[in-house]
């Protein structure tokens, strides 16, 4: 288990990491949804 003394540092670093990645991911997905309405399916080479 996490030692009490340094718990804020350890938990802080995990929070910063995953909140950072999470926000970036949400931004990507939001941009995708916004742009998708204007691009027809045949113009998406991956689908």
């Amino acid at each position: 288990m996490i030692g009490m003394l340094y718990a804020p540092y350890v938990i802080g670093s995990y929070v910063v990491t995953f909140v950072g990645i999470g926000l970036y991911t949400l931004r990507i997905l939001a941009q995708a949804r916004k742009a998708a309405g204007q691009v027809p399916l045949q113009d998406r080479p991956w689908s």
């Binding site: 003394l5 340094y6 991956w46």
Partner: protein, 258 residues
């Protein structure tokens, strides 16, 4: 839900997640599972290190994110070379370079924050002018500059050419910065991880972290690259509309002029 029922023009799944494919969905799930494991092992199941105590837990995210940041910048450099190399000047390479640099800056930021928190526990200080730290900080700023140049505008090909050249210059710059700071401050702090003093479960947790972050990196770059493709295509379509509008100025002018 009613919106979904009445919408007939576009299939719902692709509109809610337009950049997803079966592969990327599987990849995303794998990355999520990996991160879940990492959190469980890193925060709870793995033991404290004898020397570093609980501080070792930060390394499970610090080391993988540092490795991926370097990998990401390497991918940016190679994609930029590929863009300039091929006579076709494929924008796909440019978008991969841009997506990878963005993800690299994100991971580099995480590396710097988690690294200084780890340093506070292990060294008693947030920052030390060690060669590796200093190079890392310079990389971070350099690629922020790269992203700023990508946002300057112009046509897609102009953006691609300019940023590809800049990425290659960055690749030249990084070794020079690294050499200079290594000579400047040759002393390294204790490198517990590299010396392999971690116990079995700790190494396993670190391994889980590297796998999880690598999957995450691939997922992020894949999606970001697809979003950039969509955004470029929206631009191109905007151009088609704008051309029609522009041509109609002729008609309007005729109506106005005597």
């Amino acid at each position: 839900m009613t919106g979904f029922m009445t919408s007939t023009t576009s299939p719902a799944p692709s509109d809610r997640a337009p950049t997803s494919t079966t592969f990327s969905r599987a990849l995303g799930i794998a990355a999520l599972v990996g991160i879940g494991w990492l959190i469980v092992f890193g925060l709870f199941l793995s033991p404290n290190d004898r020397v570093q105590k609980t501080g070792v837990r930060i390394l499970y995210i610090h080391v993988p994110s540092a490795w991926l940041a370097y990998l990401a910048f390497g991918v940016t450099g190679l994609s930029s070379v590929a863009y300039l190399w091929k006579r076709t000047r494929s924008l796909t390479w440019d978008r991969i370079a841009g997506a990878s640099a963005e993800v690299g800056v994100l991971f580099m930021g995480i590396t710097l924050v988690s690294g200084s928190l780890w340093g506070r526990i292990s060294w008693g200080t947030y920052w030390t002018w060690d060669a590796r730290l200093t190079t890392t900080a310079f990389l971070f700023v350099t690629y922020i500059g790269y992203l700023a140049v990508r946002g300057l505008g112009g046509t897609h090909q102009q953006r691609a050419k300019r940023s590809a050249v800049l990425a290659i210059l960055a690749m030249l710059e990084v070794p020079l910065v690294h050499f200079s700071v290594t000579w400047w401050r040759p002393l390294h702090q204790n490198e517990t991880v590299e010396n392999g003093k971690l116990s079995g479960l700790m190494l396993f947790t670190l391994f889980v972290g590297i796998i999880a972050f690598t999957l995450l990196y691939v997922w992020l770059v894949l999606h970001r690259q697809r979003v950039l493709t969509l955004l470029d295509q929206v631009d191109d379509q905007g151009l088609d509309v704008a051309i029609v509008e522009r041509r109609n100025e002729v008609v309007n002018a005729q109506e106005v002029s005597p």
